[in-house]
Structure formats: C-alpha cells, structure tokens
C-alpha cells in the first residue's frame, strides 16, 4: 500500500541502503501533517452514516429519474446498494486519510471502476453529485479544523476527478 513510509522504504531497498537522513526528513514531513489527517479520519468515522445519507439524498434529489422503474434507484434493494456505494467511497476516503496517500482509493475504488460501472450500466454523474455535495457540506471549525477539512476535501476531489 503506497504511503510516504512505504515509498521511502521501497526506494531505499531498491538502492540497497539504510534509510538516509533525507529519507527520514521526508517521513518527518508526513508525520507533521498527520495530526490533521487523523483528526479528519476520526471525525469522518464518527459521522460516516450521516454524511453518506446526506450525500445519497442530494444525488437522488438532483437526478430524480433514478427512481423511475428500471433505473438504478428504483427498488428498495437498489436504493440500499446506492447508499452503500456512497458509503464505500467515504470509507475509502477515510482510509486514505489514515494512510496519508491515495493508495486505498486507487487500489480498492478506482482500479476497474470504469469497467464495473459500464458493465452494470450505472451513470457516474450521480456519484459525482453525491461526493460533490459531501465536499461542499464540510465546514470548519464546525465539523473539524481547517487543515483537517483541507485534507478531507482534497481526497473527495480526487475521488470526484476519478469519476468524471
């Protein structure tokens, strides 16, 4: 899983050397930023159900045709799956906040995403709307500190870009 720590170790290993002082510098840089990331991860974990629910409601509100017969949000089973998908993205965002890199989103969310949505004929626009809603809903200092919110929004932007 790609993170600052593993990247540093992988490159030191490729050269067959012990961690150098510049390796340790870059690890320290990531550690200094980590407090904000972990704060965001903690707050998101505590509220992930509400955040996912609001994001889901927002995208269905913008694309009400999804409720029509045969569409992706038409039955209770489909509705539950849509809500679960949104929560999956938020969970992966939380993982990225913990790891300090986009590894979890890349490996578990984005890889194969296009193929899966095409095979299931799912539109990506509602996902974009849901994640954009979540991205604009966060507010500092009400929800978390300003720096934590910046980290959180950056990862939501990353997920949004992967879908658009």
């Amino acid at each position: 899983m790609k993170s600052v720590l593993t990247t540093v170790i992988a490159s030191a290993d490729a050269a067959g050397r012990f961690p150098s002082s510049s390796d340790l510098e870059s690890v320290q840089g990531s550690i200094q930023r980590a407090a904000a990331r972990l704060e965001a991860a903690e707050k998101l974990a505590a509220n992930i159900d509400n955040v996912a629910k609001e994001a889901y409601d927002a995208c269905i509100k913008k694309y009400p045709y999804l409720n029509n017969a045969g569409e992706a949000n038409s039955t209770d089973v489909f509705k539950a799956k849509c809500a679960r998908d949104i929560k999956h993205y938020l969970r992966l965002v939380q993982y990225c906040l913990v790891v300090g890199g986009t590894g979890p989103l890349d490996e578990w969310g984005i890889a194969g995403q296009r193929e899966v949505y095409r095979a299931l004929s799912l539109p990506t626009a509602p996902y974009v709307e849901a994640l954009s809603f979540a991205r604009n809903r966060g507010c500092a200092p009400r929800d978390m500190s300003a720096q934590a919110l910046t980290e959180y929004n950056a990862l939501l932007d990353y997920a949004i870009n992967s879908l658009s």
């Binding site: 899983m1 993170s3 720590l5 593993t6 540093v8 170790i9 992988a10 030191a12 290993d13 067959g16 050397r17 012990f18 961690p19 150098s20 002082s21 340790l24 690890v27 320290q28 550690i31 980590a34 407090a35 972990l38 991860a41 903690e42 998101l44 974990a45 992930i48 999956h88 969970r91 939380q94 993982y95 913990v98 790891v99 300090g100 590894g103 979890p104 578990w108």
Partner: protein, 184 residues
C-alpha cells in the same frame, strides 16, 4: 508492503468498517521523532554493528574460519557480512514502517530454505542476529556498554527522554526475534 497506517486500513477493510482505533496511530505520530532517532541510531552504526556481530559469532566458534568452516575463505566471510547487513537493513525498514511486513516479504520469506540449501549453519546465524539485537537495543537507548565497547564506544548524543525509548527497544527486539524464529 504495509506500514502501521496501512496495516490498520487493511484490517478495517476486512470487515468493511472505518478505521476505529485512531488512538494507536496518534501515539505513533506523537512518538514519531523518537522512531526516526532510533532508525538513525541503527543506520548510523550499521557497519560497526554488522562487523562486530559477525566477529563475535566467530569468536565463539573458531571453527567457522578454519578450512571447511562457513566463514572460510574471505569470499564466504564477505558473503556472511553482506547477509548480516541485509538482515539488519530489513529490520531497520520494519522499525521505520512500524510493521513487520517488509521484513517478512522481502527478507525472511524462504530465507531458512535458502540457508539450508547453501549449508549455512542456523545456530551461528541466529547467534549473530542475537548480537545485533543487543547492539540495536544499546544504540536505540544510546546506552552502549562501556566495559564491552572499550575504546570503540559509540554514542549518538545525550539522553533525550527519560525512559530511553523503551517501547521502541521492545519493538526492534521483536523484529529481531522474528528473524530468529524464521530461521530456527
């Protein structure tokens, strides 16, 4: 390869839950500088540690450097020094990552079988690793034994924290123990 953070993520993903135990990771962050100092203490003393460990192993078992021994001639002694350095390097990586996966995947996986095929004696290898374990503890604590080191005494600086990074000493020791149990 995983680190302390991605390990938490992978185990949370197994139950599709969010990462709950942020406290342990916060502690990792809070003691981050200690960890970097510990890694630096080992990396800066690595060649000294390696040559001492191999020399110590040979001291206790002179047969190794006699004809037919595994550290005779120079070519095989050099291979032995190289291997000790490789093991110490992966232990250092594991200590930096806060997780043993890099040590397991890239160093220990298949090492026992390789050594068996090459006829490397396990007991001697384990002894050298044990010596490196003691050295690593002394260097992380920055408390090397004056009576043993004599004129070669090496120190990193003055004491920074009162407990002398006891938790990191324990963590580093656990990685050395992992090497020992993988070999024996």
């Amino acid at each position: 390869m995983l680190d302390a953070f991605s390990r938490a993520v992978v185990s949370a993903d197994a139950s599709t839950a969010t990462v709950g135990d942020i406290g342990a990771l916060k502690a990792f962050i809070a003691s981050g500088n200690r960890r970097l100092d510990a890694v630096n203490a080992i990396a800066s003393n690595a060649s000294c540690m390696v040559s001492d460990a191999v020399a110590g192993m040979i001291c206790e078992n002179q047969g190794l450097i006699q004809a037919g021994g595994n550290c005779y001639p120079n070519r095989r002694m050099a291979a032995c020094l190289r291997d000790a350095e490789i093991i110490l390097r992966y232990v250092t990586y594991a200590l930096l990552a806060g997780d043993a996966s890099v040590l397991d995947d890239r160093c220990l996986n298949g090492l026992k079988e390789t050594y068996a095929a090459l006829g490397v004696p396990t007991t001697s290898t384990v002894r050298a690793v044990q010596i490196m374990k003691a050295q690593a503890a002394a260097h992380i604590q920055d408390n090397p034994s004056e009576s043993f080191a004599g004129a070669k005494l090496r120190k990193m600086g003055s004491i920074v924290v009162e407990d002398r990074c006891a938790s990191l000493v324990a963590e580093a020791s656990s990685y050395f123990d992992r090497v020992i149990s993988a070999l024996s």
